[in-house]
């Protein structure tokens, strides 16, 4: 399949208008020694053949029948409206909305997204999206560095390890030192924090829910950080938790960043997802990326447009707040459709279903002799289990039964060998939970 609309006659006519004998003459600015004859690629295929080829490839994937794992990538229900409405070509084949007069669809959908995310995080401003939770965290830290002119940042140990790796890459290049706060997977120890904190840090990054699934009460450190005029950044790797949890803004954070894949993005082997970044208004001028604002057209209608562009790369070049240009706009549009479809009541019950299912699973596992849950853990949909049973034995059994679960935390934290991460969402059925528990009981 090719997608060239030219007939042979068209090509001839066009060449004659240009004054060239053949297409190859158009290559003339390229030195002949650099012209390739043909690429070493397979021959073209018909659409039918392409379909067959990719069906075969898709069949080589053996998907799990039960997913009881999260760890930054959450299995949630996607309402039918999301694919249907964002699948409109007017949305998905458009470019960045530079021409506002013919881009009100994208612009308003993003404005609505900004409203949803700013409110769910208790902040004044959201940008139009970041690439993902990891890069959103890195960009949030850049704001903290630039607004305090300090080159050190304190980061809680239980921030999503994928994000932490991204942060290390970004900060390393800027010669910013990352200091890890050796906290506890289940709660924040204010006394330990006081010992390590000082005003040389530009801010503190806390994750809630953290990588172990714990909802962290960090209100005790907010005043300590603010007294030094430094920033509290909350990283949220499971945006669905915002359906019930106190907003980062109300907890005392200055910036919130994270991953909103849960609002309508399929798992898709890790991407594309939806990074979000929100802030209190005093940080607005330091925000990275696109921002949509409301304004009027010459008839006085309320309309939307890209705004405050004097922060951005195409205006400020090397002085821009970030290098981001294309972001994950269609993912933000998906989130708009998702959140509009489920509405306030739907989002709330979805959050409640996550709590109910995961806590039922937690209760059932706690009854098993060979498995232990953490009594004090406060969590939304993900929690930690420990056991002395060898990982190979567990994973073999779960694989045989088509269950993805028990992510070994030892992969990320040497102190947590024999600890595993488990997640249940609204997708999880009671049968799946009972089945998992029965399998574990038989080990």
């Amino acid at each position: 399949m090719t997608y060239f609309p030219h007939s042979e006659t068209d090509i001839k006519e066009m060449l004659s208008v240009i004054g060239k004998k053949n297409l190859e003459e158009l290559e003339s600015p390229i030195p002949a020694k650099y012209i390739v004859k043909t690429l070493n690629l397979p021959s073209q295929k018909t659409e039918l053949e392409v379909n067959q080829y990719f069906d075969k490839l898709a069949n080589k994937n053996k998907n799990y029948s039960t997913i009881l794992a999260g760890a930054g990538s959450y299995y949630h229900y996607i309402p039918s409206t999301v694919d249907e409405l964002t699948g409109r070509q007017e949305f998905y084949t458009a470019y960045t909305p530079y021409q506002a007069e013919i881009s009100q669809g994208t612009l308003q959908a993003i404005f609505e997204y900004q409203t949803y995310i700013a409110n769910l995080t208790g902040m004044d401003v959201s940008n139009a999206s970041m690439y993902d939770g990891g890069t959103a965290l890195a960009e949030a830290c850049v704001i903290a560095i630039n607004s305090t002119r300090k080159n050190k940042i304190l980061v809680d140990k239980y921030v999503n390890p994928e994000y932490l790796e991204v942060l290390k890459t970004y900060m390393g290049a800027l010669k910013v030192e990352i200091v890890i706060f050796e906290s506890n997977p289940f709660k924040l120890d204010v006394e330990a924090f006081k010992k390590i904190w000082n005003a040389e840090f530009c801010g503190f990054v806390v994750a809630s829910p953290n990588f172990c699934g714990s909802v962290i009460d960090y209100t005790g450190i907010v005043d300590i950080v603010k007294k030094d005029k430094r920033l509290v950044i909350q990283s949220v790797s499971e945006a669905m938790s915002l359906s019930v949890l106190k907003t980062p803004g109300d907890m005392g954070a200055d910036l919130a960043c994270g991953e909103a894949q849960s609002f309508g993005m399929p798992l898709s082997f890790g991407g594309p997802y939806l990074g979000f970044l929100t802030c209190k208004k005093e940080h607005l001028r330091k925000m990275p990326g696109r921002i949509v604002g409301q304004t009027k057209d010459s008839d006085g209608n309320i309309v939307y447009t890209l705004t405050l562009t004097a922060r951005e790369q195409h205006i400020r070049r090397e002085l821009a707040t970030s290098n981001i240009c294309s972001n994950h706009g269609l993912c933000a549009t998906r989130a708009s459709v998702y959140l509009s479809t489920v509405g306030g009541k739907g989002l709330r019950t979805c959050g409640l279903a996550n709590i109910e299912k995961s806590h039922y699973l937690y209760e059932e596992i706690s009854k098993l002799a060979k498995f232990k849950v953490e009594k004090s853990q406060i969590f939304f949909n993900e929690f930690v289990v420990s056991t002395d049973i060898a990982y190979d034995k567990i994973s073999k059994k779960l694989e045989e039964n088509g269950i993805l679960s028990f992510l070994p935390l030892a992969k990320f934290y040497s102190s947590l060998s024999n600890y595993y991460l488990i997640c249940a969402t609204e997708m999880t059925t009671k049968e799946e939970i009972d089945n998992l528990v029965a399998i574990l009981g038989s080990l």
């Binding site: 080589k60 294309s326 109910e356």
Partner: protein
Amino acid sequence: MKDKNIIFEKSNNCISSYSFNIEKNEKDILNNIPQSLLNDNLSFMPDVSEGDVARHFIRLSNRNYGVDTGFYPLGSCTMKYNPKINEKVAGNPDFANIHPYSSTERVQGVLEVLYKCREALVEITGMDEIDLSPCAGAHGELTGLYIIKAYFKNKKEERPIILVPDSAHGTNPASASVAGFKVVSVKSDADGFVDIDDLKQKVSKDVACFMLTNPNTLGLYEKNLDQIVKICHDLDIQLYYDGANLNAILGISKPGETGFDVVHLNLHKSFATPHGGGGPGAGPVGVKKHLIDFLPGENVVYKNNKYSLEKRGSLSIGKVRSFYANFSVVLKSYVYIVSLGKEGFSKLGLLALLNANYLGVLLKEYFDIATKPHIMHEFVISLQKECDETHLTVMDFAKRILDYGYHAPTVSFPLIVHSCLMVEPTETESKETLDKFAEILIKILEESKTNPDLLKNSPVNTPIKRVDDVMAARTPVLKYSKDE
């Protein structure tokens, strides 16, 4: 100032709100979490029936313009047709519903797609290795610059400077800053090529990299590329290829064979994945042998009849994103590569050149085409003279183009040409479309002389009239609020 058409104004507490099943009541479920860590409610969220949500977004889509709506000659953005089969394949649940922490045995199809797409991109670019992690062009630039930084660090050399042409896209200098470099600009000569004398003055052992776009942002193929490569490589300065304009040479020539050390590709431009009104895209990075060890994250390998992901060695720059790649975007571009095959690629670039040159010829009697002497896949029109004579702005011209049912070309970029429009037709447009578009541009030029108000007051045929950008920036309203 409240928009009656915003979703938040449509909430009517309808009886058929969306729901999920829960067994216990809300209060009992919330008992699992201390009150102090819970929000009060989601009262800001709307509750709208599904039918009304559908109408809301269909109305929005009707106020948008996509490639399927009409011609989208947005220079530097390569707005070609996005084949439907790409979307269909990516929607297959056996690709879409895969958790990134699935066991290797269960994701052989995914890994094969990644592996084979990477192989194809290696062949197309002439680089020695490709990494698929970056999420967009600018992210690819950043990744490429991290790689170059790590390369010099490993050689124990301090090289703080990145050179960028003054014609470069804004992301080039911005990426250099984010990667912790200092930016020095290299002048363009009168035609828009790299000014070799200026380059010679600016190169030194302090320079880590020279970032080029080729064809450049004027649509010119760098005529002194060999000389540029030699000047840089003599000092071990790495040559970076911003792949935004790869479409011009796709299937014709390989950046890896012309001297570039690092390239990034924009799968959402050259490889026909939809841009989505602002992403998601993908910006794979390709490198030559001496830089392979520094690539980010993980690598897909094929050993003993099995694909797997392998963490790269100790010289790797580390991760630049969560998980592995924008998988569905990579998948769509791989569908495109498989569809076109070698026969398709042998025509693609040539037809992109044909379309741009043809349109250029149709316009050159009427407009000042700044892309001289040879147009590649796009060209820049300078409207400086017209603007001076009529007191119109280039934006007035662009907005009038919207009135005739087209998307406007890129406005005011590159910065080295004043009052410019950058036109990139791409290979998926027909002669007929180009003929009509040329006719309209010429007609608008005529209007600018006979009735400039038509342009000043444009657009009039669009869903809304001219937007007040100044007001948007002066009094920022960045979210809906009930009480305002």
